[in-house]
Amino acid sequence: MASGLFSAAAVIAAKDIAVEWRTKTALVSSLVFAILVLAILYFARDATAVSAFEVAPGVLWVTFTFAGMLGLNRAFLLERENHALDGLRLTQATPPAIFLGKMVGNALFIGLVELVSLPLFVLFYNVPIWSRLPMLMLVIAMATLAFVSVGTLLSAMVVRTRFSEVMLPVLLLPFLVPPIVSAVQVTWRILADRPLAEMTGWLSLLGAFDVVFFMLSLMLFEAIIIE
């Protein structure tokens, strides 16, 4: 049963990745968008008073959030065309399997965007991260998990509405307040070489958010997908 769940999820994720890989439209647009945000935010400060290093943690997370949001709608917009979602429901995949598959697909997509924009962030903002990379990767992974669990659930909802492109940010951003604020708080401490003890509070908040919202999204997904 459990292996069926994971194999079905893997098939769905692989399908989404394959579809995306053929055109790379969403991937390239999200990447270009991320680079643009990084570049524009560099100029959104008084360069004589605020150093680029000081705004760097905030910039990194605003960039990831905005670029990620562009990618989220894609997963279910694919299924809206030609009623593909009905086809997906007719397969043996259970709602949790569909959710997991879509979520993993989204996580890989956003992870790739993050992987490419992180070196650019280092380059543009001149932040030395190499010695702190493992810690930074951990925070990025945790916040991305929070982002994709709620994001996948909400995007499945909004693609069925009118104005879905506007609706997703409006519904999703309130849910991103705890993970993004925690991620920014931890990131600036990592970059400023603060001791781990100063980050554990925010990290546990982020971890708790991951667990609660992953479980909630997994359970609530059925109510979205079943007619």
Binding site: V170, L171, L205, S217
Partner: protein, 234 residues
Amino acid sequence: MNRREKALTTARRGTIITGLALIGLAGVYVRALMFTPIERFQGPAQKILYVHAPVATVALLAFGITGVLSLLYLIFKDPRLDHLSASSAEIGVALSVVLLTTGPIWAKPIWGTWWDWDARLTSTLFLFLLFVGYLVLRGALTDFGMRARFSAVLGVLALGLVPFIHMTVYWFRTLHPSPVLLKPEAPSMPGVMLVTLLSAIGVVAVLYVGFLMQRYAVTVLEDIREEEAAGGLS
């Protein structure tokens, strides 16, 4: 009695309760302005507490009820639960507008600034925006079943979000007056002010019940009209 008559009766009862609450509200404010002493440090500005705190309490209660009813809807699938939770959310949003307006008016003379990123202020703002999103989502869905299920999912998620938002903004920093009512020791407020505050909370709660009944009845009537329109077409 058919559904329409039932809804109309609920609406009429709701109107009566709202009317009584409004009279009570007027009474509470006469008491607050004329028969409750002026606070020593804050002066007359403190009077706004008798609007602000009751509205805050009931707005949070309204959002909480929306969350609980959403959860119950997902279990029992009773359309009445959906109507009630949507009505409650709408009233919560309306009360939050009062809350977020009276707050800055008080804050200007006391804190010296209209707005501050204080913990409770920030949580309320995000909660308000979240429920505005809830109402927008409902407006964007036409199919009844889908609207009810989707908004219930959002309501349950919101219920899970509240503690996280609170922790986040609280850790960020807080400036809000510390709780005067709900704290382990006795309330730090003279008895005469406390009576005014508690009766204001009670009156606003009754007002909420009146609003809820009327809004619920309107939702049921809208439903009946939609069904009739659909029946007329087929």
